[in-house]
Symmetry: C2
Subunit: 246 residues, 2 copies
């Protein structure tokens, strides 16, 4: 099947001048270490909306970092039922799911046209061997993934549907704010279907919750645009004092 040419692009800047270098692997590395890192980084990966970066059962190719766009990771059972695991945004790393067996355990699908950097697996091992900074940052990133999954489990296991949405919106708010964007108004990268799945509920339920929370003056949501109208009420609903560390 012929594909239209990718017409989204971005000039490949250096890690040192990348706006995401404080949330990506370069974080905490010395200039010389960054220079070494950079030799192994392929900055030309492009994935079109709805295409897969990798599939479950694929052999691992490398570790990826998102420059722009968004990726969802998900896992499916044999009936084809999908569970969305995480939404990855610019600066996030992907590929740790293959650490166990060298085979990816989940699917990674682009929610929008997405640009990524890649470190081939063997280079990654090599960098970990040579650079303590990379090793540390890698552990950091892996730990972030584990912590995230733990939070999600807590949310799915203990919260009701509206509390789960509140928690999610606050996470997103916190995320955007920490990146210098508005924490009160932002655009979600995913459709309702994926979001409801991630939050462990039916699309219809999500829709109803949104309507209800809008009526109650907590938020406004028009398609993917989110406006948080009453941050305090939202936090109260989420029972959230848990702060999110980078």
């Amino acid at each position: 099947m012929l594909e239209k040419p990718n017409n989204f692009s971005q000039k490949s800047i250096s890690c040192e001048s990348c706006s995401l270098n404080n949330v990506c692997i370069p974080n905490g590395l010395s200039p010389s270490e960054i220079a070494e890192l950079e030799i192994s980084v392929d900055k030309t990966i492009k994935i079109k909306k709805k295409d897969a970066l990798y599939h479950s059962k694929d052999e691992v190719d490398g570790i990826y970092a998102i420059k722009s766009g968004a990726i969802k990771t998900s896992i499916s059972n044999e009936d084809g039922q999908e569970q969305v695991l995480e939404f990855h945004l610019p600066g996030d790393l992907l590929g740790f799911d293959a650490f166990n067996s060298g085979i990816h355990s989940c699917d990674a699908t682009a929610l929008e046209d997405t640009l990524l950097c890649k470190i081939a697996m063997e280079d990654f091992h090599d960098l970990c061997a040579r650079l303590s900074g990379v090793r540390k940052e890698m552990m950091h990133q892996v730990g972030k993934e584990i912590s995230h999954n733990q939070s999600l489990l807590l949310s799915l296991g203990q919260q009701q549907t509206n509390e789960r949405l509140a928690t999610f919106l606050l996470e997103m708010s916190s995320h955007f704010q920490s990146r210098g964007f508005s924490g009160q108004e932002f655009i979600l990268p995913m459709p309702r279907q994926d979001l409801s799945n991630y939050l462990g509920m039916a699309v219809e339920t999500l829709s109803r919750i949104i309507s209800r929370m809008t009526e109650d003056g907590l938020i406004q949501m028009d398609r993917r645009l989110v406006i948080i109208s009453d941050m305090e009420k939202l936090q109260k609903l989420a029972h959230t004092s848990t702060s999110y560390k980078k």
Copy 2:
């Protein structure tokens, strides 16, 4: 408060002769690497039933490996609602939850009197720097934890309560079998309360499901003793063809 002396003990054998060395860090290491590893291992950690190995917000002390007993990890929200994250059995590693910030993000509590080995965090970093085998095995173990969390999310998000129990029992069966024990008859290390929490349901619901599955001839459960009567039906219920890799 005075504690009774620990009267459970085990002579500290070498990693090389430990029966768990093929599922623990020594897996895949050369004899000389194991010797180096062993220098940094403290094999004298004892935790009594119901005591904590560490708490959420504790600074990380090291990475632990379970020799005997069982540990549950769990996370709580500010209302004190707990979500059990994982049950750790002999050979399992703990402590990755602090990789992100150096602070533990969950509680680790002994379900029974438990013996562990410990590698202090700085030694662990040092070992990762020097020994590629340790580095690889560590990645392996971390990947296992990530894969496990993903499976649990899929189960919580997509399965009904009875399917979740079936999935869990098959996991345990598979686990015990791979360790040379019976996969058909085994003893669970946790009470109903913890299990139901882990599976995202009320204790009463779990109890009812067990009764129903016993009536239907799938299993027999007397307290913590599990007997799987009809493995095929159980697998069918769990929709499981997903095999579990070590």
